[in-house]
C-alpha cells in the first residue's frame, strides 16, 4: 500500500505508553556519503508482538532501513525508538548492548559464525546480554529443538540451507528480543523451505512475544500477514 516513505504516524503519547509499540520510526532520512538519498522522512510503528511485512524492490533501502533501526547506521534525521528508547541517543557499548538484548536480526545469508557449532552460534548471542550464563545452554538447546535442529554440535556448514536458516532464527531469538528484524530471510531458500521458514519465524516470534518486521521483495512471503506495507524508493536527486 505504501508508495510513499511515510507509512504510519504515531503520537508521542503512544511512545510513552508502558505497553506502547515495540518500534517507532519517525521522520527517518538517510543518505549515503556519495549524496544519494535512500530514505526520506520514513515513519512507521510496530506494536508489541505485531508482525509486518515491508515489501520493497531492490535498491529501495530495505537493508539500510533495518540497519538504521538496529542502530548500525546513523540517520540524517528522524529517530528510532525501540521499547521507548531512542537507540541513536545511546553511544558506543551501551547501544551495542541494547541492540544485542532487544533486537534480533535474521539475514538473507544467515551470517552464521565459522568455526562455531550450531549451539555455539546461539549461545554467542546471549554472551553479550544480561541472561544468566547458567541459562544460556538450556535456552539455546530449547530454541534449537523448537526449530527442529537436533545436531546441536554440528558446524553450520554441515547443515542444510534450511537448517542453517533455522539456526539463524534461534540465534535471533536467543536474547528474548522485543523486535526481530528479518532481511530477505527466504532469498536463499527454495519456495517450499521459504514458506516453512516464514511460518517458523512467525510462530517463534509469536511464542516469544517479539514484534516482527520482515522486509522482502518476494510477494509470496507476505501471504498470511495481516499487515503488509510497501517501501518505495526515495525520490531521485534529493541528496542531502
Amino acid at each position: 500500500m505504501m508508495a510513499e516513505q511515510r507509512t504510519q504516524q504515531n503520537s508521542p503519547e503512544s511512545v510513552q505508553n508502558e505497553a506502547g509499540p515495540a518500534l517507532v520510526v519517525e521522520g527517518l532520512s538517510f543518505s549515503y556519503s556519495g549524496g544519494s538519498r535512500v530514505l526520506d522522512g520514513l515513519g512507521l510503528s510496530l506494536g508489541r508482538g505485531e508482525q509486518m511485512v515491508l515489501k520493497a524492490s531492490s535498491g529501495a533501502g530495505k537493508s539500510t532501513l533495518l540497519h538504521l533501526i538496529a542502530g548500525l547506521l546513523e540517520p540524517g534525521s528522524g529517530r528510532v525508538l525501540i521499547d521507548r528508547t531512542e537507540i541513536h541517543r545511546l553511544k558506543g557499548a551501551k547501544r551495542d548492548r541494547f541492540r544485542g538484548s532487544r533486537v534480533g536480526m535474521i539475514f538473507q545469508t544467515f551470517n552464521l559464525l565459522d568455526g562455531f557449532s550450531a549451539l555455539e552460534n546461539v549461545t554467542t548471542a546471549m554472551m553479550f546480554s544480561k541472561i544468566p550464563k547458567a541459562e544460556h545452554d538450556e535456552r539455546a538447546r530449547a530454541l534449537l529443538k523448537r526449530l527442529g535442529i537436533d545436531r546441536h554440535q554440528a558446524p553450520p556448514q554441515s547443515l542444510s540451507v534450511g537448517q542453517q536458516q533455522r539456526v539463524a532464527v534461534a540465534r535471533a531469538m536467543a536474547c528474548r528480543p522485543s523486535l526481530v528484524l528479518a532481511d530477505e530471510p527466504t532469498a536463499s531458500l527454495d519456495p517450499e523451505n521459504a514458506a516453512e521458514a516464514v511460518k517458523l519465524i512467525r510462530e517463534v516470534c509469536a511464542e516469544e512475544g517479539a514484534a516482527l518486521l520482515l522486509v522482502s521483495h518476494d510477494p509470496a512471503v507476505a501471504i498470511g500477514f495481516e499487515r503488509v506495507e510497501e517501501l518505495a524508493a526515495a525520490p531521485a536527486g534529493t541528496g542531502s
Binding site: A93, D96, R97, G100, F107, G115, T124, M126, M127, F128
Partner: protein, 438 residues
Amino acid sequence: MAMSGLKIVARSLRVRAVSTLISAFSVAVAVAMLLTLLTLSRANDRAFEAGTGNADLIVSREPSGLVSVLNTFFYAAAPVDYIDWATFERQLNSPGPRRMPPIALIGDTGWYIPVAIGDSYRGRAVLATTPEFFEKFKPRADGDGWSFAQGRPIEGAFDLVLGSDTARATGLAIGEIVHLTHGAPGPGGQLPEDAHVHTDFDFRVVGILERTGTAHDRALFSHIEGSWRMHASDLGDESARDLETPVAPQHQKVTAVLIKAGGRPGSTVTAAFAPLQSDLTRMTGLTIANPATEVRRLLRIVSNIDQVLIAMAVVILLSSGVSILLSLYNSMATRRRQIAVLRVLGASRKRIFSMVIAESAFIGLLGGLVGVVLAVVAGGLVAQALWMRVGVMLDPSLELVPVLWTLGGTVVLAVLAGLAPAAVAYRTSVAGNLRPLV
C-alpha cells in the same frame, strides 16, 4: 556451556589453525634461540670460571697463558713443549731478585704440583701428576676437593684413577689393567690410527672419582713417575723399568705446574701471590698465568660474540612479532563479516578490539611456552655436544627470571603486534559487511 570472550578467541584461532601455528612457531624458534643463548652464555661463564680449580698460577711452556689453561684444565689439546722438572725445582729454590727463593712465597701453606698431559686412553686424555694433586688441588674453584666413588687416589707409579664420565663410558672397574696410548686427543677426541700403545706398561685402575662437573670427569689420572718411566723406556733407557732406580732427571718432563701461593690458613687472598708471579715470570722461557684471569679474558672475548648472537636472537624475535602482525592483519579481510555479526549480537568495538589483542597475546604466549620447551631441549643438546667435544660441562637448566622476562616480553611484543589488526577490527563497518555475498 556458555560462550565467553576466550572461547570466541579460541574458535577464531582454531579456524585459522595453520596461520596460528606458523606464527606461534616463528615466535617459539626465536624464544628458544634467545633463551638457549642466554642460558648457555651464563652456564658457559660459570663452567669456565669454576673449571680451573683452586690454583693461583699455572706455569708452562705454552705460547700463551690462555692456551696453557685450556690445555691443562680443559684438555683442549696436547701441550707442545715441556718443562724440565728438575731445572724448574732448582729455579724455584734459587734466590731471585728479592734475595729469597720463590719457594719461600709458597711456603708451608701453598703448594706446587707437576702435571703432564700427552697420553690418552680410548680418546680420553690422561693427566699424569703426583698424589698431592688429589690432596691439595680442588677441581672446582667454587667447590670441595676430590671425592672417590670407589677405590683410592694414586700411590704407586702405575696406579690409575678414572674420572666419573670416563668410568661410565669405558666400563673400566677397579683392578683392571689399562694400556695408555701415546698422544693426547684433540677437541674431537681423535688420535691417529697408528698411535703407539704402551702395551709394555700395565696401569692398574685403583680409584673412580665422583662427578665434579668439570672437564676432569672425562680424563684419567696416572702417577707422573709411571709416565716418566714409560717415556724414558720408549727413549731406550731400560733402567727406567726398575722401580728401585730413580728416574733420570732428563726424563722428568712436565707440561705444567699448578701453584698455590702461600698465605694464612683459610685466607683466599694472599700477599705472596703477586711477588710469586713476578719471580716466576723472570724464569726464562716460562709462561706464567693466573687461571682466573685467563678465563676472564676468554669470557670477555666470548661475551662479545654472545652479545652479537643474543642481539640477533632479539631481532628474530622482533621479526616473529611482525609475523603475528601480518597473520592477523591479513586475516582481517576474511573476518570482517564475523566481526560485523558479533557487533550485531551486542559486542562493542572495545570488546572486538580486546579479542583481537587477546588472539595476538595468545599466539605470543603459545610461541613463548613452546620456545621454553625447545630451549630446554636445545640447551641439553648443546651442553652434551660441548661436553663431548670440548670437555666443558655446562648446566643447561633454565633460570626462572630470564624465562619469565622472555615470556613477558614475548607477550608484550605480541600485544603490540596485534594493535594494528585490532584497530582494523575496531573500525570495521558493521552495515557494510552484513550485505549478502555476491
